[in-house]
Amino acid sequence: MNKYTEDDLREELKTKEYEYGFYTDIESDTFPIGLNEEIVKAISLKKEEPEWMTEWRLEAFKAWKEMTEPEWANVHYAKPDFQAIAYYSAPKSVDPNKTLDDVDPDLLEMYKKLGISVDEQKKMNNVAMDIVVDSVSVATTFKKTLGEKGIIFMPISEAIKEHPELVRKYLGTIVPQKDNFYAALNSAVFSDGSFCYIPKGVRCPMELSTYFRINQGGTGQFERTLLIADEDSYVSYLEGCTAPSRDENQLHAAVVELIALDGAEIKYSTVQNWYPGNAEGKGGVYNFVTKRGLCEKNAKISWTQVETGSAVTWKYPSCILKGDNSVGEFYSIAVTNNYQQADTGTKMIHLGKNTKSTIISKGISAGKSQNSYRGLVKISANADNARNFSQCDSLLMGNDCGAHTFPYIEVKNKSAQIEHEATTSKIGEDQIFYCNQRGIETEKAIALIVNGFSKDVLNKLPMEFAIEAQKLLEISLEGSVG
């Protein structure tokens, strides 16, 4: 195919009729609202993608058109109007005239509480950095260290061009384009995301986080992450930024695919704190995420997540335990306050023999929020001696919130051992009074109790992240007691 020029595109578009009056001005970096095949093509073109990638997106788009939004989750929200969204927007550029004085003071207050440096604050708000050189050099140092080990870590848009053989081999193998409504949408229109490949036998020498935080200014609306750990390799990947982001994007539909080949181990930690909406439940992000990992023989994948943000969360990081002796883990803390709704959990699909999975979920609900755990443990016929342990604890604050647990268990092999424990507790007045009596004010007391409740999961996070996550829990629950 000849290079599809902007003029061609414009020409072609003129000849068609679109419900929402499509026009494009490729010069500008935001596409008009609405979604159709042309937009998908235009995104691909804009990113200078190879043809196979364009086709791949179009296939996904075709599937998506036939699909309907899932309704089984325990969440209620006004369905997004998918034709009212702009599907491509280049990363916001730094505005040289903008200073921190132009940033929402509420947001700055939160940063202060989190102990975020001024430079990072600027970074997160697209304010020009004073010491750009510094961060660039830091990033370069990381790149060098990683490069020496043969580790590839780059935006997926670059990987598509630089390592097409890897991307093509694995993209969509764990989360197929047609997997679900949001995954299909993501596959069609994903803007960017990360790609990571750890070669055979390599232990990634650093948490892939610092790098990420420096380089990932704003996270896209439709992020796509692909992480491949080759045989006997190890990587710990941290996703998200612990600072609250007030993203104007209503809808976030990310896809993450992990591949752990024989003997590999992947630790994937997430802190999600998108804007949850205000105390009256207005605004906030819809976070519909598909995350799944595949374990080959003797491989291990651990998902750890701290979910405090978003108005609506729909997310089930899962493990397909295909190889014998593979291990899947899911550790989750989900906090909902005010009018937030979260329906989150995991799926552990045991296919191989002697596969093992552990699920620890801690749900904390306050205000008028609803917090659901939804988990599936599936033991297939061939999975001899599979084992699962699940523990789902809910902590309620006040009388207006809800905690729900939906565990699904499907067992097709008699040798399976499955244990499920669930508890629901309430922060009692007596606990608060006890803390008060020792000089600990109520808000701090709640933070202490919540941290205690979440400890098993917090402990799974890398140290530095855990401390930030703790602070985040505290902030998310501020004002949750009258």
Binding site: F433, N436, Q437, G439, E441, L448, N451, G452, F453
Partner: protein
């Protein structure tokens, strides 16, 4: 230090304290005894500032200041400590972490910086040795799975760490074995000074053998119906409460 005038308190419109008068001076030890349900723990909670209880009449003065408006933590910052009859569990929060938070929150309220980790460690070592508490115990979740006696000893450990001005020990002796009782009592005695005061709520004489009270009060139906010296406790141990109830009626 503490002055209680004609204190009436109720919970859910049910009157429990019905006119308490009590004066506690620095350096004094007061024992409060009385039948089950007479209002001893309620009195302790009201002094400590539990919100459920409503003061309907009277006042509590702490260092000549009416503390009616003060929240429980503010009273704690002023040096009020309550050793609970039923200490609550806080899963996942270690004894060490809890007491560290308590101390630093109190310091913050007093305009002080956090206690340096080194000093904190030293203090913990010192006080846990005094109360013969195994260090491993301090890493366990607060009160979770503690035996009755362990809970009480842990309360006194916290008291030792916080060094309150006014300590109220609500049935700290119940649940303690004979050796533990001696250790805990000795601990309390070591913390005693001319500047602080202790109120001991108990049903039994034996604790008072170790911590000798200056005054003994009998609480009955929300009122202090009899006060006396340490011999009153012996008398109660011998005769029970009936004769006092008789006296009240007549």
């Amino acid at each position: 230090m503490l002055k209680i005038n004609n204190l009436h308190a109720s919970v859910d419109d049910k009157a429990i304290l019905k006119g308490i008068n009590l004066v506690v001076n620095p350096g004094e030890v007061h024992a409060i005894m009385g039948p089950n349900g007479s209002g001893k723990s309620t009195l302790a909670s009201v002094i400590a500032g539990k919100e459920e209880y409503e003061v309907t009449e009277g006042e509590i003065l702490l260092f000549d200041e009416n503390i009616d408006e003060l929240a429980a933590e503010e009273r704690a910052h002023k040096g009020v400590f309550l050793s609970f009859q039923y200490p609550v569990e806080i899963p996942g929060v270690s004894v060490t972490n809890f007491i560290k938070t308590a101390i630093n929150e109190t310091r913050k309220a007093q305009g002080l910086e956090d206690m340096p980790a080194k000093d904190m460690l030293k203090l913990i070592r010192e006080k846990s040795e005094m109360l013969e508490i195994d260090r491993k115990f301090l890493s366990r979740s607060l009160n979770e799975g503690f035996s009755g006696g362990e809970k009480k000893r842990n309360e006194i450990f916290q008291m030792a760490m916080l060094e309150p001005k006014l300590a109220i020990l609500d049935e700290t002796d119940s649940g303690l074995d004979i050796d533990a009782l001696r250790i805990v009592a000795n601990g309390v005695n070591k913390l005693k000074s001319k500047d602080n005061a202790v109120i001991i709520i108990t049903h039994y004489q034996r604790l008072l053998d170790y911590i000798v009270p200056d005054f003994v009060h009998v609480l009955h139906d929300g009122k202090i119906v009899k006060s006396g010296g340490k011999e009153l406790a012996h008398e109660l141990e011998e005769k029970g409460y009936d004769w006092i109830k008789q006296e009240v009626v007549t």
